[in-house]
C-alpha cells in the first residue's frame, strides 16, 4: 500500500500516523500542505491530528481549503482511501467528504484520556480486523470532538452502516455517541479517537493496530 500522510502547519500526529502505517508495512510519503498533487500512485491518504493553522476560524476550516486538500477531494471522488484522525476528521467534514461537523466539547474542556469504543461495522477496509460489537480502548485528545449531524443525516448514516465507531460512554456530547463516520462508498473514514496512539505495546494498548493491518490487507488487494 502506498500511503501519503499530510503535514499542515500545526499537525502534531503526522509522524505517529506514519509510524503506525509503516509498522503495518505501508510505504509512506509525507506531503506538505502547499503541494497541489499527491505523489503518483498513492492508494491511501492519512489526514493527521493536531491543530492545523492554529485552529483559526474553525478547526480544520483553513486546512480544508489548502491546495493539498483539493487533491485529496479528487482522490476520494475517484474512489481512493482517506483516513482522518482527530483534526483530520474535522478537516474531512470541512471539505464535505464526510457529513456533519465537530463542535466544542459539551463540557467545554479539552479531554485527553483513553475511552471505550464500540465497533459498529466490520464491513469496511478500516474495521474488518474487528467484529461488529467489539469494544476497544483508544485514546482521545480533543477540544472540539462533539459530533453533530441533523436528524435526516443521522438516519441515513445509521441506515447505510456508515457509523464506524460509537463511544461506550460519550465524553464530549456527540449526537448518537458517534466517534467515527464513513463516506457513502466506505473508503473515507473520519474519527476523533487516535488508533495510531494505540498501535504499540509502549503506548499502553494495541487495540488500534488492527485498523492498520486491515487496511494493508484490503487496500493492497484493491
Amino acid at each position: 500500500m502506498k500511503a501519503a500522510v499530510l503535514v499542515f502547519p500545526g499537525s502534531n500526529c503526522d509522524r505517529d500516523l506514519a509510524v503506525a502505517l509503516e509498522r503495518a508495512g505501508a510505504d509512506v510519503t509525507m506531503v506538505w500542505h502547499k503541494e497541489s498533487d499527491l505523489p503518483e500512485g498513492v492508494d491511501f491518504v492519512g489526514v493527521p491530528g493536531g491543530f492545523s493553522y492554529g485552529d483559526y476560524l474553525r478547526c480544520g476550516a483553513i486546512a480544508a481549503n489548502s491546495p493539498i486538500c483539493q487533491a485529496v477531494v479528487k482522490h476520494a471522488e475517484a474512489g481512493g482511501f482517506v483516513f482522518g484522525v482527530c483534526n483530520g476528521f474535522q478537516i474531512l467534514t470541512e471539505t464535505g467528504l464526510l457529513p456533519g461537523a465537530l463542535r466544542r466539547n459539551a463540557g467545554l474542556k479539552y479531554i485527553c484520556r483513553t475511552v471505550g469504543l464500540k465497533v459498529e461495522t466490520s464491513e469496511t477496509a478500516f474495521t474488518s480486523g474487528y467484529a461488529q460489537g467489539d469494544e476497544i480502548q483508544i485514546p482521545i485528545a480533543h477540544h472540539d470532538g462533539n459530533y453533530f449531524a441533523d436528524d435526516d443525516t443521522l438516519a441515513r448514516l445509521k441506515g447505510e452502516g456508515r457509523v464506524a465507531f460509537t463511544y461506550t460512554d460519550t465524553p464530549n456530547g456527540s449526537v448518537a455517541d458517534i466517534a467515527g463516520v464513513l463516506s457513502a462508498n466506505k473508503r473515507v473514514l473520519g474519527m476523533m479517537p487516535h488508533p495510531e496512539r494505540a498501535a504499540d505495546a509502549g503506548h499502553g494498548g494495541t487495540d488500534g493496530s488492527a485498523m492498520f493491518s486491515a487496511l494493508m490487507e484490503h487496500v493492497v488487494s484493491a
Binding site: I62, E94, P99, G100, A101, R103, N105, A106, G107, N146
Partner: protein, 76 residues
C-alpha cells in the same frame, strides 16, 4: 468598502459556550438571563467594486460552516 459578517450557531444546535456564559451570569447574580448564544464577528476591508454577492460566497465557502452555522452579511 467594508463588510461585517456575523456567524452564529444555528438555532437548535447546542452552544456549550453560550450555556457556560449564561451560567456565569447567573452566578454573578444577574437574574432573568434566559438564553445566551455566542458567535463571531468578522470585519472585511474590501476593494471598491466588491459586491455583497462575493461576501456571501466567502461565507458559504469559508467563513461559516453552514452545517451548523448561520451567517448574516452587513455592508457598511
Amino acid at each position: 468598502m467594508k463588510a461585517r459578517v456575523y456567524v452564529m450557531l444555528k438555532n437548535g444546535v447546542l452552544d456549550p459556550q453560550g450555556e457556560a456564559v449564561k451560567h456565569a451570569l447567573g452566578s454573578l447574580g444577574f437574574e432573568g438571563v434566559e438564553g445566551v448564544r455566542q458567535g463571531k464577528v468578522i470585519e472585511l476591508d474590501l476593494a471598491e467594486g466588491s459586491t455583497e454577492a462575493t461576501v456571501t460566497e466567502m461565507c458559504e465557502k469559508l467563513l461559516a460552516n453552514t452545517v451548523i452555522e448561520s451567517y448574516r452579511v452587513e455592508i457598511l
